[in-house]
Symmetry: C2
Subunit: 236 residues, 2 copies
Amino acid sequence: MVKIVNINKDAGNLAERAYEEIKRRIFDFILMPGDRLSESDLAQQIEVSRTPLRQALQQLQHEGFVEALPKVGWLIRPLDFEKFDELYDFRILIECFAARELCTTVKDRSALRTLALIWSVPAAERLQDAMKVSALDEAFHQTIVESTGNREMMRTHREITERIRIIRRLDFTKDNRVTATYDEHAVILVALQGGRPDEAQQLLTSHIEISKREVRQITLDMLQRARKREPLAGQN
Amino acid sequence: MVKIVNINKDAGNLAERAYEEIKRRIFDFILMPGDRLSESDLAQQIEVSRTPLRQALQQLQHEGFVEALPKVGWLIRPLDFEKFDELYDFRILIECFAARELCTTVKDRSALRTLALIWSVPAAERLQDAMKVSALDEAFHQTIVESTGNREMMRTHREITERIRIIRRLDFTKDNRVTATYDEHAVILVALQGGRPDEAQQLLTSHIEISKREVRQITLDMLQRARKREPLAGQN
DNA sequence: ACTCGCCTTGTTGTATACTACATAGTATCC
DNA sequence: GGATACTATGTAGTATACAACAAGGCGAGT
């Protein structure tokens, strides 16, 4: 009897694989904002059937990356900087709350020491690799939020992180922005360890606000270059 | 030629209909927390095929009402009061931020006047119907959050509202809780209209905290009664 | 009597066929 | 020549068949 083997490369199910693959293509601007696409086309490209593909698309729709046009097709949502601004502001609210909790009610400060080992280091020990710094930056802010112990806030904060990553990561492609991030994280940690909530909140707010502004400009440049290089990058 | 007509009762698509129907059954405790269910059974009951049903279940999974047990089936998630507490705390954070915005930076105060017409009324004009008061209560808090203009905070707040509605609505089945809600909303509105952010935040916080505590007890009673009445309410 | 392994049954995961529908292109009529 | 109706084509929405898999029952062997 012939056994048909499931040759899933990464995940146990095709839906997840499709999800990761589509997201990758969006992040790499292979699927450009504004592109239209049909389920059958994409299914063929990714080599899954429509069923798991639609599952993936629905997930991505919920996360705001794609939009369903009923009976017509799917659309890669254009980058909406107003929305990113609002997500950054939301981050500020959640992280400032977490910072206050850390200073006032949270007992276990060990997480702060761990963060200091990463961020409060001499210039020579600082990392440069954009992807690594980006991941560490996300971890830094996530760790602060974790201190609240509120899983719902953590969840929402994680979702925000997922949604802004597409532009946020570009921040670390500039050396001076990496330097600034190290500096700012260091002083934030000092304020948190010193138990000074107002100062920590103020530093955190301006840290995120600066990033918000920088990232917008960097992204606009990046987009223009991507468009010039491959004006018809998306299929059909 | 025979034309097969789509007899969708409510929505344009079956997935949405399935979603509403399942949610209704969960809210009515026809599907009890802890119940296991299979897609084929439920599909037959709701009279849709598995495809739109799964779409509905995935949506409900994202909202935390059901849980997918891969290769095994679906589970109606038990009511988790710790989670509800965290959602209430999250509400407090968002609504307090909105209240501050309302007092300090928002120009257009007309929404507050509209709310006052509903909540700041003589006892004789107060509504009693639990469903109506519940809807008005949700609208009250939503309106405050809308004042921020931050659509992401609004969205998250709306999701929180959806997720806690299953227990929150029970709050208004008790007359004294309706009375308390009217009283508390009225004083909150006064503080907001007076532009006193600290007072508004303090009132809002205690208002939500009280509700959190009351609702927990009411729900536990309700659940016990539901369990006694129909110990095997779920199918199979 | 107990344990181990096979096999039956029920479940989701996936692929695919088919329906209803939207859209655009074309031919026809005025 | 312009507007309009019709038709061809491609799309998502839906139903369903089948494969892969999990789990538990049941029997055989000890």
